[in-house]
Each structure stands twice: as C-alpha cells, then as structure tokens.
C-alpha cells in the first residue's frame, strides 16, 4: 500500500488519518496519541496569547514540532467569514507563511453545525489570497461542489455533529459528494470509534479527521492506534472491492461435494 498516498494541494501524505490536538490531558499525551495514530497532518487552534504567562509554560509547538508534523491551523469558534479569514491570516503569519488551512465557520454554539453561506464567502477570500483551503462543511453535495469550484483543496463534510461520536449518519450524502467532487473528500467530525472510521473509508472517502474520538477515549493512545488500523482497514477494503450483498441467497464457503452420508437409524 506504499503508493496509495493521499494527495492534498499537490503534496503526498502516507496517512489518511488526520487528527486534532485538543482535549488531551497534557502535551505528553497529545504527542503519544499523535505518534500512535501515524497522522502526519494535525489540526491546531489559533488563540489569544495568555498575557503575563510563565515564560517556561509548556508549548504545543515544543511537544508537536512543525518539523515532524504538518500543521493545519483551524478557525474553530469563528461564526463569521470575516473572523475566520482574520484568524487564518494570523495563522499564516504565525506559521511562517504556511498556507494549508482548515476553514470552519460555525452556525450556532449548540450544534456547531457549519454556516455554509459564511463558509463559502470565507473560502472565496482565502483562495484569492493564496491559501490552500481544506473546508469543513455540511454533507450537502451542492455546497460541496461549490466549495470545490471556488478552489478548496479538500472537502470535509461532517459525518455527525462535532464531538458527538455519533458516527456516519448519512452515508448516502457522503456518496453523493464523492460522486460530484474530484478533490479529496475527508470526513471531519462525528467519528466515535474505529468502525466509524472504517465505514467512512469503505465508502470511498479519502481520509478521516478526528479529535474527540481519540482524546476523549478512556485510553487515548490505544484508541489512536485503533483509529490508524480502522482507517487502513477501511481503505484496503474499499480498494479491494467488496463482494456484492446477496439478500436471501446463501452460498456455502466449503465444497458441496464429498460430504459424508447420513447414517440411517
């Protein structure tokens, strides 16, 4: 499977699992989980510096060095296109001109459902400014296609609500998106356990992005390993081409000839 790379914005990645860096107990656990997941692309948030902080306070950049991981700064918490664009301009400055970003513009704080109108507006501005935009969106295939047409480098529909762990609720819409879009489709949000990741990959998704499912497992490092395997298993199953489903027509796996005869009593 060494040649089965995920290509985003012209760059090849070996891992199809993208992970977040939030909600971990500490940076040591973050790093251990990232290593177990095999992820190369990791999301980070951009937040106000804690003024007056201890100069020796541990820093995410020390635990998760940019030399080893591809940072994907996000716009989590932004509710307008303007805030999202400003956040990513700051991210680009912060990360030395790094242009690969995750755009998400939320609609309300209860559902964290994307506001696709603001998302489309922000995507237009960011693409025009040279960003490579991976975009979190609803599972609406028409919006997904519009985001691709704007120039986004990956479409990232939710499988269910952010942090819900509810799994793949609408595989049909994900399929409709994949039928229409030629850039990578990455399920972002909603995965709860390894089988969810495998299902996404079996559907033909190009990757899976998750945070809470790993960070909020009882054993995050073990779950990170499980997710790595789930994504790999699902990908290999997709590439293998599964057998057709045959409702009400069983077919034995063992030879039907040479069975010993029944003993008559």
């Amino acid at each position: 499977m060494s040649n089965d790379n995920l290509i985003i914005g012209g760059k090849a990645y070996n891992s199809r699992l993208l992970v977040g860096t939030g909600k971990y107990k500490d940076f040591a656990e973050t790093r251990a989980a990232l290593d177990a997941s095999g992820a190369e692309i990791v999301t980070v948030a951009i937040r106000r510096t804690n003024l007056g902080q201890n100069a020796n306070e541990p820093n995410l950049l020390d635990a998760v060095p940019m030399s080893k991981f591809t940072y994907l700064p996000n716009t989590a918490g932004c509710y307008t296109a303007d805030d999202a664009v400003r956040t990513l301009r700051l991210a680009r400055e912060l990360l030395d001109g790094h242009s690969l970003v995750k755009l998400e513009v939320l609609g309300d704080p209860q559902s964290l459902y994307p506001n696709v109108i603001e998302t489309l507006a922000a995507a237009k501005t960011l693409v025009a400014e040279g960003f490579q935009v991976m975009v979190y969106t609803s599972d609406d295939p028409i919006v997904a296609k519009q985001l691709e047409d704007i120039g986004c480098v990956a479409i990232m529909p939710l499988a269910s609500l952010i942090g819900s762990g509810m799994g793949i609720l609408n595989p049909w819409n994900l399929q409709l998106i994949m039928d229409r879009v030629s850039v990578p489709v990455i399920v972002d949000a909603g995965v709860g356990t390894a089988s969810d990741a495998a299902i996404a990959m079996e559907l033909g998704c190009d990757g899976v992005l998750m945070n809470t499912a790993i960070a909020c497992a009882q054993n995050p490092v073990l779950m990170a390993s499980a997710m790595k395997k789930g994504v790999e298993a699902g990908r290999e199953a997709y590439l293998s081409g599964r057998m057709p489903r045959k409702l009400y027509s069983a077919s034995p796996s063992s030879p039907t000839a040479g069975i010993i005869s029944s003993v008559r009593s």
Partner: protein, 67 residues
C-alpha cells in the same frame, strides 16, 4: 500616555512605543506569536518600525491544541 487594547484588555502605555518595544515589555520577544493591529497583520519584520497610536486594537495569538 496612550491607551491601547491588547487581546480585549485596555492597557496604558508610555508613548512613543513600537510594537517591538511593547512585546519586550510583555516578555514576548522571540516567542512564536502573530500580531494583528486594527484588523491588519503586522509582519514580524515590521515590529520595530510600527509605532503604536492611541486607541489601537491589538490581537496577539499563538497556536494551541484544537480539533
């Protein structure tokens, strides 16, 4: 004295003061941060040249864990 807003908190500063001097006061020199002044990015290369004005709104950010 001038008053500027830094990450939403008002702060009085002795003028004139550059962005670089402010960061030094805040012990942020050399730290990986990005700075926005009145909605516009101030590139690191401009920190020494830009002088703060009364009423400036600054946002100073870093990368933290997130999904």
């Amino acid at each position: 004295m001038i008053s500027v807003s830094i990450n939403g908190t008002a702060k009085a500063l002795a003028a004139p003061i550059s962005v670089a001097e402010l960061l030094q006061q805040m012990e942020l020199t050399g730290k990986r941060i990005a700075l926005e002044r009145n909605g516009e990015i101030v590139p690191r290369s401009q920190f020494a040249q830009q002088t703060l004005a009364d009423g400036d709104q600054l946002e100073i950010v870093g990368a933290v864990g997130g999904g």
